[in-house]
Symmetry: C2
Subunit: 473 residues, 2 copies
């Protein structure tokens, strides 16, 4: 492909993205495709000779696009958001074009130093303690694994890295903690049985007294408590674990405190939500995802640590072929995580933070918070429905409840959700809270406006109405 | 940023990339910047209000670009290549624009199915055994960690995941194996002391008899051999471990065989290099990096496994909030690796494979192999230089050797490398082979042509000449 052809298709693709941003709201959020349907349209072998970009682009539009779920749809209320934004997409063009692999300072000095700078910008924006150092990870799953590994090494004096896992170390997380904690305790060799599920209160937040009891009991049994994971914005209901008492317990027992603020953390840029970080001084590590709610293309997960020395000592490697003359003077981020190779992720974050400015980002988040409260109000004012958890951020957990038995309620609410989703106008997902099936309405897509939230509610009402009608027959 | 502004800057950025591809060869491969120099040019805080994209782009060009190391420079002979290509960059625009998070089938059916299809295309292109199933990982470091985790679980009947690491499991890799093996045995809890460094022969390839001896000795000591890592294209010298005898040993001892073909694997698309895969039927897992030598933007690492059931059982999680109605019928790649969140990486691979076609890719690789042999010839025909390892792929390890003592030779060769790199016209890195300092000349950047290889050799000769002159004084 020559320069002119690249230019021509590049312009066409940019135009396509510009139109996509504008029109994605008219596509069904979730495609109506069956398993295997897309695969059946694709050849079983790579072509022998090169094909025209026009044909490839055409197949993209005709085969791939109709099978995509549209995360940037304003009717996206599923899971959590994974926002991109125009400046972020623009930065990705430059990142892809330069194709730099930023494993160490010398392989891209500007990338390493920009990462340091933008992570410090984020630290200040969130009001995290001075001295905390940041690194961009791909996902919060990886960051939480890094935390559990560093905690493991700290608790054992770096003996596991050296001679293998022998100790019985325990990890504590609320019963509402994300599944990445389960995955990470397995990967790091603790074993899932050593993950204590701390009970939660009526708001689904960790009960500190229960945490302390469990730590004491484990100590008495000769186990070694190594890490507590506190969550600011759990996946099911966006509950907030109280950092002040949890941090106090961790300090007294010498246990690593990892804060999973993957979703909720972005709200820390708002003064009125900063309370979630009360007590964060006690945290040894913290992760939050700009790729969720800070308009930066997936993947971009911000991981902060109090003592980078411990992180580096957990991961550092020094093969001859990676040594450079400046290693003592620079940050080589290869030693700050699992992967050696690293993309230039700091660029898109820099573009987003500058293009929106802190105030611009605050406005976006505040509107999402306002819309979530609106939705909560509609649910509360309709006696057939109930809100199932406090609404701290953009997530509203609710359900239809006409007093039927629990299994009947689950059936009805599942059916409501299915009907809304099948409309293609909104996409809701579900969870289980205290054993009850709930619908999750997660407001946070960049372009979601009041009309989209209202439309979703109307779809819920329609579905509930026709179901209730059926029941009456 | 409105649609027109996005469009305008998008076009400008595409044009910038088009020009960059054309002119990157005129920039210094490695920038002449000192640690801290870029950071000092950047503000300490994020801006309060949004800034113009024109200003951001300007700063990108004036502050960031001069601090970048240019991996797409035709004078890139450092480390291994990390190629992008026009079709790959084009695909990245669409991927960024759609911003889909492809953790499970339902969150992007087309992404999941295209991943399955292109991985099957790759399997056929490389002639890997039928039935091997593929998944895209970010890096070979992650893939090797996945292999060590699955091997750990298989060896212990999934007991480590369940109740924590208790067994003394051992891992075997040649003394030339990549540092990601060290990192992975630590992360997975084996401990670095349980990593056996199998001696290599004069060509730096693993000696199977030594491997077998070590496995036997460990068994006699009551240890449980869990995994052997064989490398096709080691990082230092691109040595090829012999899979046939290694696979035979693994089979007889019931040990997991992981093949790290991160660099060399791409050459498997060439009939004349297919011999590297002789014996691959014995492999339980294999990784190679299309982001190195198959013109697909970093990151894109292809991981193949014989038994996906074992991989999935190692990583699977089933929280309520991720359950969907089609889970039994589809591939949910979240369970095929460490991260939950996943980018739509299959798209760029699809664009590259279709745009070049298999023959087009073969031509690119064959030219690199030819250029490496040319360079090897020049080194061999100059009696002041010597080639230090067999040249199987694009990598030539060599050094100046005028018969001086080893430490003097190291000093001279370091100086030669420094002078070549300071020229800005070529970028070489080094390694140590059998305790001897060697310069690595790694030919594999997409646009590298004979003139660039010749220029690098002339720079080496110039540096050597002036150094030899100095010595004579």
């Amino acid at each position: 492909m020559d320069r002119e052809e690249f230019r021509r298709f590049g312009h066409a693709f940019v135009d396509w993205v510009a139109d996509y941003f504008e029109n994605v709201g008219e596509l069904p959020v979730r495609p109506a495709v069956s398993p295997g349907e897309i695969r059946a349209k694709l050849p079983k072998e790579a072509p022998r000779s090169g094909e025209n970009m026009a044909d490839i682009f055409n197949d993209f539009k005709e085969i791939i696009l109709p099978g995509m779920t549209h995360w940037q749809h304003p009717g996206w209320f599923a899971y959590f958001p994974a926002n991109n934004s125009p400046p972020s997409v623009l930065a990705e063009i430059l990142t892809a074009g330069m194709g730099a692999q930023c494993m160490i300072w010398q392989t891209s000095p500007a990338a390493a130093e920009l990462e340091e700078v933008v992570m410090e910008w984020l630290r200040r924006m969130l009001g995290l303690p001075e001295g905390m150092a940041g690194v961009i990870q791909d996902t919060a799953s990886t960051a939480t694994l890094c935390a559990l590994l560093t905690a493991r090494e700290k608790a054992t004096g770096f003996a596991v890295n050296e001679r293998g896992f022998r100790e019985r170390l325990t990890v504590y997380a609320s019963a509402e903690t994300h599944s990445s904690a389960d995955k990470a305790v397995k990967i790091a060799g603790y074993g899932i049985k050593q993950l204590r599920r701390v009970p939660t209160d009526k708001d689904f937040a960790m009960v500190p007294a229960q945490l302390e009891r469990m730590i004491r009991e484990d100590r008495e049994r000769g186990l070694l408590p190594a890490c507590v994971i506190a969550t600011l914005g759990t996946t099911s209901s966006a509950a907030v674990d109280p950092l002040v008492p949890i941090g106090d317990i961790c300090r007294r027992h010498g246990v690593w405190l990892h804060v999973d603020a993957a979703y909720g953390g972005s709200a820390g840029i708002l003064e009125e939500r900063r309370w979630i970080f009360n007590g964060v001084e006690a945290a040894d590590s913290l992760v939050f995802n700009p790729h969720k709610w800070l308009l930066t293309n997936f993947d971009c997960s911000a991981y902060f640590v109090k003592d980078p020395g411990l992180l580096i000592r957990t991961f550092e490697i020094h093969p001859e072929y990676l040594k450079t003359g400046v290693d003592a003077e620079v940050k080589n981020y290869r030693d700050w995580g699992i992967q050696l190779g690293r993309r230039f992720r700091a660029l898109k974050l820099w573009f987003v933070l500058r293009s929106y400015g802190v105030e611009g980002l605050k406005n976006v988040l505040r509107e999402h918070l306002r819309l979530a409260q609106e939705f909560r109000g509609w649910v509360e004012s309709d006696e057939r429905f109930e809100v199932m958890a406090p609404v701290h951020f953009g997530l509203v957990c609710f359900r239809f409840n006409d007093g039927s038995a629990e299994n009947e309620l689950e059936r009805i609410n599942r059916e409501i959700m299915t009907r809304v989703n099948d409309s293609g106008r909104a996409y809701l997902t579900h969870t289980s809270l205290g054993g009850r099936f709930c619908i999750r309405m997660s407001v946070g897509q960049r372009t979601t406006a009041e009309k989209h939230v209202r439309e979703a509610w109307e779809l819920v009402l329609q579905a509930a109405g026709s179901l209730a009608g059926k029941k009456a027959k």
